[in-house]
Amino acid sequence: MRRRGFWVALAALTVGVVLLAAGCGSSSSNNSSGAGGSSTSIPPHQTGGTITVALSGNVDYLDPALAYYQSTWQIEYSTCVKLTNYKDLPGDAGHVIYPEAASALPTVSSDGLTYTYTVPSGRFKFNTGEPVTAQSFQHALERDLNPTQASYFGSVFLKPVIAGAATFKGKPGEHVSGITVSGDQLIIKLVTPDAGLISKLTTPFACSVSKDTPIDSKGVHAPAGAGPYYVASYTPNRSIVLKKNPNWTDAAGYHRPAYADEIDYTSLTENTDQGTLQIRNGQIDYSPDALAPAQYFQLNKEFGPKGTWSGGYQRFFITPGAIVSYLALNVTRPAFSNPLVRQAVNYAIDRPAISQTSGYGASIPAEKYLPPQIAGSAQEKVVYPVNGPDLTKAKALMQQAGVTTPITAVLYTCNQPPCPDRAAVIQANLKAIGINVVVKQFDRGVQFGKEGTKGEPFDIADEGWIADYYDAYDFLNILLDGSNLPATNGNDFSYINDPTLNKAMEAANKLTGDARNNAYGAIATGLKEPGGLAPWAPRSFGTNIDFFGPKVGCQVNQGSYGMALNSFCIRS
């Protein structure tokens, strides 16, 4: 019931915001959107001004070929123009891919090996005045694939599929044979069908770059931007300045505003307790992460959708992120070799209690493999209990499995809060069905490395996954395809290697559109239904937490990349 309520609210939110966007665009009038995940209205606001932002810790890079932190993707969402993009809309509407610099979604050859994008020249312009063309994207992708640039995304997600990428050395004048430009057409040839390519090219790694952007393995600090804003300056560990792109015209008609003149990341080393105080009193206008988790409850009470603070409008936002947290059940170990025992675990764990250990609002109890941002999530059915354990069913499954209890299972988890607390809840939950959990805590990096080593003696891995890009492949194929399990550094922590499952995932990755979503949704559902392999016990989705000072309004919590910086305005 709770989940249905959530989706109904989300749908209402989406409809509201679509109407809002259609009705008022970037005007200053008062219009209600009825939104919960975004600001409830476009308040009277001034055009221009400066918004200050705090981050707890530095960013990684601002170079599109290298940036990988959530905070930098948020920046790049507002500084980039891509072939395809997500609109500045909250909820489901913000998960749909639309053409941006391209005039339409790409045409795909019947064999699935050639993608052709048409990029009308000059429809968008960089802040330097240079037009965005098909070459801008050719250069962007070749930077990703250049061995000297050493881009994670290029080497992991593009190199295996784009023709000529494997042999590309990046010498002056050399081009990747599979990426060509003909007039205003960008043609990408693949060595194997990859229907996830469109999603991959919707990430900031495929952000258009100016023809002058050099190859620099340390990353370009202030690349030219063609989005609503551009990076005017970046001093590592100290400051980032985003300025309004003077050439921004919202040519794709996505109602992407750019209200403030400047967005300044004034300090990149905020202490979370202090950061919360600074935003409370307006010394800082916004932070996506410099907040003390222990204060989420109080902040939501004061500044949430029904906040009690004197200003009356929402300043504190909790929204789901594309993050799934799960218990990987090691199928190669005696404790969990029987799928019925793994199913029993899924019925025995108390998801709300486990989520509570992370603190108020930090996670949403869930039993899905695919977070709501990922196409296919809507098609994935809810099978396991989300509101609490179903011990009757769990015990029945244990009995059906015919195993002798008690079973001893070793749980690997991290040694930082809330991992130990979470482990205690899991221990208590599984004790009820005759599984004695032995908890072993490690530093997070050590835990990750150990779990990825074949033969490591653990039965349960307390894990999570953040999307590299918004496609089911990045969750299911990456984490559950055991056809090529490495001896070390693996990601399939359940060590499941089921030929039928592998084939199904491989086939799903060749599909597009609804067929793809249905296929991935069915695969995820199939893992959970009676007779399913149940390699995981998914337990929650992560959330994004955003807190604003009193002067900021017009927030749009973009469904895929979090709060759209370009949507922020200064209340008048």
Binding site: G219, N237, R238, D264, E270, Q274, G449, G452, T488
Partner: protein, 336 residues
Amino acid sequence: MTRYVIRRLLWAVVLFLAVTLVTFVIFYLIPVDPARAAAGKAASPAEIKVVAHRLYLDRPIYMQYVHFVDRLLHGDLGYSYSSRQHINDVIRQAAPITASLVIGGAILWMLIAIPIGVFSALKPRSLADRTAMIFVLAGISVHPVWLALVASYLFGYVPTTGSFLGIIHFPAFDLFPIQGYCSLSGAAPGEICGGPYDWAKHLILPWTTFAIGYAAFYVRLIRANTIEVLNEDFVRTARAKGVKPSMVIRSHVLRNAMLPVVTAFGMDIALAMAGAVLTELVFGLPGLGYTAIHSLFQFDYPVTLGVVVFASFVVIIANLAVDLLYAWIDPRIRLS
């Protein structure tokens, strides 16, 4: 003297190499694969191998160490795994912030400690002395993080709210920043503050927090030394000869009482570099301590190693300077 200086210099080099070796080995023993961390979470084993080769991590440990020392001798601390920044730049940016905190804090703690310590020694067991000793007890006992949080709440946040505990109301005003740092030389692009005034304003609370503990310790030290010297024969003689009391204190007592204090001060300044970590963390000062802690959490070992090596270098140089200064002041040290 020359032989002594050469001997100390050689020891400093040996000590420095030993520190780098121990630090390097400690990081090598931590069972985290830096290549995996640098390659990204979905990287294939083949990709991780490529990254390991690029980062020189696929060579035996002794070769990695030789490579590290070779770079070090050329003044190159290497590159960060997580941001690929040159670590020399990271240190160059962070060191002045820590220096601002430590030097400013040290001046403040001496400004507090000398008058209180001397006054307490001159009026032992008086009400003022007892009060000073309460300050000492509190200053040594209180945890710097607690003190920092309370200070920034009371003097940073509360004034901006215009109310204290909902009981006392007053017009809201900005007193001190809750956290953050401003460059002494002026505001860099995107920074909302800079210059000497903003620099000092942002550091007053960190300096105070940082200085309290040391000041308390030094009050006790100065008080004890001064009382001891006051009872020396030469002080009694000076008084008997009719030297003015202020002259006795200034020329005979303080000069002698401060000698051990100067020694301790030299050592503590170097150690305070480590103590500054907590203050930097609470007040969001991106100094060396803050940088080291953040890099440790990110498994960005080259940065951690760089900070440790740099800090060791500073401590060794400081100790060397103190040793040489002592040898110059007291010839007996050279002979021994």
